[in-house]
């Protein structure tokens, strides 16, 4: 009864139909490999307004790509949902307020919701020279992260920059940029790497937290296992080509046009853990993800691969490397070509049929002329 009212309110609040909302929750549960009853639990958690956790969202050294991709997720009314699913108390890109006003609001929320809010960190944190290379409201990012982490119920770093340093940490790393887990060694920081990460991996993690009050199962790098448990290579739609030794050798060649494996173009799928081939990007379906559209994966989620290895460099295959030579597929047992005898026989049979026709026609012509008078016409 109570649930019913909650759902009715939710329909009004979010402007989505109950059906669309349930579909969304079921989809999220399926992404994480959860059951239908878990999907119902999630739906109830979102529908009851009390459960909405406050979220403090920090931005460090980054391009805001993670936020942008999250806002552009195309599920029905997903932006409404994300803004309503959580109580987004502080977000520099999305906040209406500015300057000291918004900083004060953040402080107030952190104080009021101490121990209850969700901290999301987007972007790397510079640590050189006391972290002076990134400041917000006069304070370094380093201080912001440490301060907000104190009272957070859970910490999620979204994107590769926040997870392991990303672009700012690549190359000579002039600002000594680091990911949030390195800044907060004592805390459990869930990492959702990717550039940008798939928004549904983030949403699913948050929904799991909102519903069950705990984080989903994590791997040794604190990445949710449901999203980063397997290599891209393992579920890649081009994998059969890899196994059969069919590779695109340069962009636009015959193999590339035929959708062959991109390994030899430098695809990092064999050493990158992510669920891209399973859930794809951009909600358009039909193979819309980098490898699906013909570009090699560059390993954006993987520290030491993305922004580190050159695009054309061969991946270090974690499963098994392809052999230098594959069995020759053109050798088929029991395949014989035409023997002269058989060819002559076929010719003879056709010739006999044509010849017999010609002979019959000759005779027929004679009897036609002879029997012209008594035609049955």
């Amino acid at each position: 009864m109570n649930d019913e009212r909650n759902f009715e309110q939710l329909e009004k609040r979010l402007g989505v139909s109950r059906r669309d909302f349930m579909k969304f929750c079921t989809g999220v549960a399926a992404t994480m490999g959860l059951t239908t009853s878990d999907a119902m639990a999630m739906a109830n958690a979102v529908a009851s307004p009390k459960a909405r956790p406050p979220v403090i969202w920090l931005h460090g050294q980054e391009c805001t790509g993670c936020t942008e991709s999250l806002l552009r997720s195309e599920h029905p009314t997903i932006e409404t949902l994300i803004l309503d699913l959580i109580s987004l108390d502080y977000h520099e890109t999305l906040a209406a307020a500015a300057g000291h006003q918004v900083e004060a609001a953040k402080q107030a929320s952190m104080k009021a919701n101490k121990g209850k809010y969700l901290l999301v960190i987007e972007g790397a944190t510079p640590t050189k020279d006391g972290g002076i290379y990134c400041k917000i409201g006069g304070k370094t990012m380093l201080d912001h992260v440490k301060e907000a982490a104190e009272g957070a119920a859970a910490i999620v770093s979204i994107g590769s920059c926040a997870s392991w340093g990303g672009i700012p940490s690549s190359g000579i790393n002039p600002t000594e940029a680091k990911g949030a887990p390195e800044i907060l060694p004592d805390k459990t920081v869930v990492t959702i790497p990717g550039c940008p990460p798939n928004p549904y991996n983030f949403l699913s993690t948050v929904l799991h937290f909102v519903t069950f009050g705990k984080l989903p199962a994590l791997d040794h790098l604190n990445r949710p296992k449901f999203a980063y448990g397997r290599l891209i290579h393992e579920n890649c739609e081009r994998r059969p080509h890899f196994d059969a030794g069919r590779f695109a050798l340069e962009f636009g060649d015959e193999g590339h046009k035929l959708g062959y494996c991109l390994y030899k173009l430098g695809c990092k799928g064999p050493e990158t853990y992510a669920n891209c081939p399973a859930i794809e990007f951009g909600d358009v379906g039909g193979g819309a993800w980098p490898v699906g559209v013909g570009h090699p994966c560059f390993g954006c989620t993987e520290e030491g691969v993305g922004f580190t290895k050159a695009i054309h460099q061969l991946a270090d295959v974690k499963t098994h490397a392809p052999p230098n030579a594959f069995p020759y597929v053109n050798d088929r047992p029991g395949t014989n070509s035409a023997t002269p005898g058989a060819a002559a026989l076929v010719g003879g049979v056709i010739g006999a049929a044509v010849g017999a026709t010609a002979m019959a026609a000759k005779k027929l012509g004679k009897s036609n002329e002879a029997g012209d008078g008594d035609s049955q016409g």
Binding site: V346, V349, A353, S375
Partner: protein, 379 residues
């Protein structure tokens, strides 16, 4: 009493004995096939599991045996009784053609000892086109046998039985029209399942059944012309050209529809370019088209239709066209993947030649011993 009578003459003629030699060679290799297995005789492989034993004996062979079907359609559905003189030889040829098809499918079967399963409804797979073809062909062979039974009964003089059979014959005649419609179109459906292995020029998907049926009917009418012409020449009978000339009007309609569907399907799906690619498939398509169009051009003129010689040429051209259409789709332009090739071996061809020889020998015996051909004075 009867409108039909046996052809007089002795059985053991020189051509008959020559056919006997061919039959003996075929039967010898058939013996090898059953003693040493398929691989010892046939060139079929994993890419081409269907060689000429299926494509000629079953797919082309049953279409060549559609004379009984085509005539039954004209005589009993369109009620054109004047073609009745042609029906008995046509039914007889159909009976042999279909028996050859069924026999061909049997000896082409790797595990032929499992064949009895088709008679067990509990083992039927209703999603299988092959099941439909198999059951339909088996039933049709029985139907053809019953349709032909009056000739045998007349010879035996079993008048009571004949009278009784004539009362129920309409039912089997109806089946004789229905069953070929079913399995001849299903032979086209077999190609749908083969998908991209079939060359785009022959892979018309949902149009396959219609095209198979149209070519089967065309070949059925053509074989009637072919048989009648050869019977006239071989047994020194008066040619039935006027009757055949009128039959060719049906052929004109059928090829016109067929060519229209065929070309439109290719044009609307943007596949016409393949025809002029200059490769084997394209050239075979052009040859096939030429063999279809030549008889159309010949038969369109009334004067040509009345000329028994041109009519025979047109009919043979159509038989080759229909056979080539099937050979192209199933074998010549068929691509099962890299590395596979197929060309029938000499023993394989000899088996088919031998079986066809047996068919012709049996036909000769039947028309000489039973009242099959129409008696001239009643014509």
């Amino acid at each position: 009493m009867s409108e039909h009578q046996p052809v007089e003459g002795k059985i053991l003629t020189l051509p008959f004995m020559f056919l006997g030699v061919l039959a003996a060679i075929g039967l010898y290799f058939l013996g090898v096939r059953f003693a040493d297995g398929l691989g010892a005789v046939a060139n079929i492989n994993s890419g081409y599991p269907w060689g000429i034993w299926v494509v000629y004996d079953v797919v082309v062979g049953t279409a060549l045996a559609c004379g009984g079907y085509a005539l039954a359609f004209v005589i009993y559905v369109f009620n054109k009784g004047k073609y009745h003189p042609l029906i008995r030889p046509a039914i007889l040829a159909s009976l042999f053609g279909y028996a050859l098809g069924g026999f061909g499918a049997f000896f082409d079967m790797g595990r032929y000892w499992q064949f009895y399963n088709i008679a067990m409804p509990s083992n039927w797979n209703f999603n299988s086109v092959m099941l439909e073809v198999g059951l339909c062909v088996i039933t049709y062979i029985f139907v053809l046998f019953i349709e032909f039974a009056p000739a045998v009964l007349e010879r035996m003089g079993a008048k009571n039985m004949l009278r009784w059979l004539n009362k129920v014959l309409f039912f089997f005649i109806a089946l004789g029209v229905l069953l070929p419609t079913m399995h001849q179109s299903s032979l086209g459906s077999l190609l749908i399942i083969m998908g991209a292995k079939v060359h785009p020029l022959w892979q018309s998907l949902q149009w396959q059944p219609l095209m198979a049926l149209l070519t089967a009917l065309t070949m059925g009418f053509s074989i009637v012309i072919f048989e009648a012409s050869f019977a006239a020449v071989g047994f020194n009978r008066r040619p039935e050209t006027p009757l055949l000339a009128r039959l060719s009007k049906a052929i004109i309609a059928l090829i016109s529809v067929f060519l229209l569907v065929r070309v439109l399907e290719l044009a609307l799906n943007g596949k016409l370019g393949f025809a002029f690619a200059g490769d084997l498939a394209g050239n075979m398509f052009l040859l096939e088209m030429a063999l279809f169009i030549f008889p159309l051009v010949v038969m369109l003129s009334r004067g040509n239709r009345d000329n028994g010689r041109l009519l025979l040429f047109a009919a043979v051209s159509l038989l080759f066209a229909g056979a080539l259409y099937r050979f192209n789709a199933f074998l010549i332009a068929f691509n099962p993947g890299p590395g596979y090739s197929y060309f029938p071996s000499v023993p394989e061809i000899m088996v088919t030649v031998g079986i066809v020889a047996i068919e012709i020998m049996a036909y000769l015996v039947f028309v000489k011993k039973l009242p099959v051909l129409h008696s001239a004075e009643h014509a």
